[in-house]
């Protein structure tokens, strides 16, 4: 963060505005949870709001928007990438059914067919 008094005061203005936005975001996210939209959409909405609030904290309170250091930016980029991998891949291992027959071939059941699941 830069040094001079006016710049710091400008930053303080931004902080207060962000504080307001975060307060609004909190209210919105609680209200949105009462909407009758089903689980999947509800999750998406909540995550979008959380991401927005989170981005404000990271960009302005943590000064990432002004950050020019390649070391920090690359570290964060790698971290986010690996975080995605950690979130997604175990799920994909559970969800992947390609090549698995819907019912297991059973020596006793003459009628069971191995179907291709999609």
């Amino acid at each position: 963060m830069s040094g001079s008094a006016e710049e710091v005061k400008k930053h303080i203005d931004v902080y207060l505005k962000v504080a307001g936005a975060l307060a609004v975001g909190t209210v919105v996210t609680v209200l949105a949870s009462y909407l009758d939209v089903g689980v999947a959409l509800g999750i998406v909405i909540a995550l979008i709001i959380a991401l927005t609030k989170g981005s404000l904290v990271v960009a302005f309170f943590m000064h990432l928007l002004e950050e020019r250091s390649r070391a920090i930016l690359w570290t964060l980029a790698l971290t986010v990438t690996f975080w995605f991998v950690l979130m997604l891949l175990p799920l994909l291992t559970m969800a992947d059914h390609v090549g698995t027959p819907k019912t297991l071939p059973n020596a006793n059941a003459a009628e069971s067919h191995a179907e291709e699941a999609h």
Partner: protein, 595 residues
Amino acid sequence: MENVTTAEHVEHEEHGHDEHELSFLQTYVFSQDHKVIGIQYAITAMLFLLFGFSLMMLMRWQLAFPGAPIPIIGDLLGQANAPGGIMLPEFYNQLGAMHGTIMVFLGVVPLAVGGFGNYVLPLQIGAPDMAFPRLNMASYWSFFLGGVVMFASFFVPGGAANSGWTSYAPLSVIATEGQTWWLVGMLFLIASSLLGSVNFIVTTLQLRAPGLSFMRLPFFVWAQLVTSFLLLLAFPPLQAAGTLQLMDRVAGTSFFMPSGLVVADQALEISGGGNPLLWQHLFWFLAHPEVYVLILPAMGIVAEVICNNTRKPLWGYRALVTSIIFLGFMSFIVWAHHMFLTGMGTTISAFFQVTTLIISIPSVVILSALFISLYGGSIRYTVPMLFALAFLPMFGIGGLTGLPLAMPAPDLHLHDTYYVIGHFHYVVAPGTIFALFAGIYYWYPKATGRVMNEVLGKIHFWGSIIAINFVFMPMFITGLAGVNRRLYDGGMTYAHGQEVMQWNAVMSYGAWALGFFQIFFIFNFFWSIRNGRQVNNNPWQSTTLEWQAPSPPPHGNFTTPPEAHRGPYEYSVPGASNDFTMQGQASDADPNRGV
């Protein structure tokens, strides 16, 4: 060419230049000096390596002579572990789980990263110490605490952890008390690693001497840097997983416990709904990068020793750096090749097969560059060089035997057999550990001002390289025959194992022979501290910055702050007055400057 006169002895005690004199405790126990901490890590780690090795030597008795009373030691193990001197299966399982845990987390990594990284890295970049000396001290003591907890676990009711070093749920959740100690120990060890990795990265980025750009860094530094990133980002999910398993064991949660689990004819009184595979994912998310943590510093050491003893620069420096960075990145997306038999679908298995095969490419590039670096060299067969040379084909065997394991189809047959044990031991034992020996012999004079005895070193080397192949090569044979891992009787009760059972005894004799030859090393290591031939600051005539410092370096490392004026491996430069020019040397006109 090189003088072997007596070295000037620099004062060993640390005296702060501008500070008050430090007490004995502050100097040697709770030190913030990276060199003291590095030695603390190294000695502690070597003790654990010896302990972990001893556990294996015990196991090998049971495997060679199942059901036979263990001579001498058998009666000392106690009734709970070996009644009548005959090892119980429960004790065998403890030995197996703790051998793996100790070797990986208390032995190899603390020596390779905590020991070598701490001692050598700041010296090689011309820094006075690590960026955060107090954090460094904290990281050692966290490691030490973790080690104490792990060691103590042998003495609790039921003994130490016995569910494999991989601690798979649900077995680990219902296992004896030792598993809880294992988890607590891991929490300390992981914390230690995290603190250390932050320190290493900041130090490497921030404290490089003037003129030391990234592409002038010794390859050893690159290796430690990438390793630190692996530790930083891969360990936390295991920290999380360990916490969850602790909750399962202590708070009765069911993170990893499926519904309807029946143990010993009794349904477990748990809420269920958990997923044992969740543990495997979180565990292997760390544990795969962890194996690269095991190998990368070793590659760094081998690179240093090879170019020093061929009197030639490393071949393919840029390729090496690119490969090691790519390797580090890829190591995060291959982990489920440890889980090919868990019922994953074919698409996702194919994904992990592809990434795993791809990751072999940078490994091959690195190994090839190291091999090619020998070509045209003036090879000096010093003891460090013998170990570094042996690393190359041994790591090659380890790497090649990994290929069938990378693919689900052959892995179906080989998973959890001795083939796997053979594969990873080749990479870590005659691979990494030999590289670590090379490093010890190589940097010993920097830390002590004396060289280790060469005759003892050569006996240590030749005995070890021969014995170690007798231990691990037969594992491919028994593994291909289908003999499973972690079998208390070595596969005796299985029909498919009968033809290969005789190899068990061979492997055990190899292991005990290997143990015997380490005696030469242990004796040499301690004997040479007082009696080794004294040498000057740069007995190997090396180019990198650490050899500019006194041996041993004082607090603050360099008497005059170094600068890097050239690349790290200026050996045999045409027209130079010496066959090596030190990195800190400003011009060729004064070859002794900085030495």
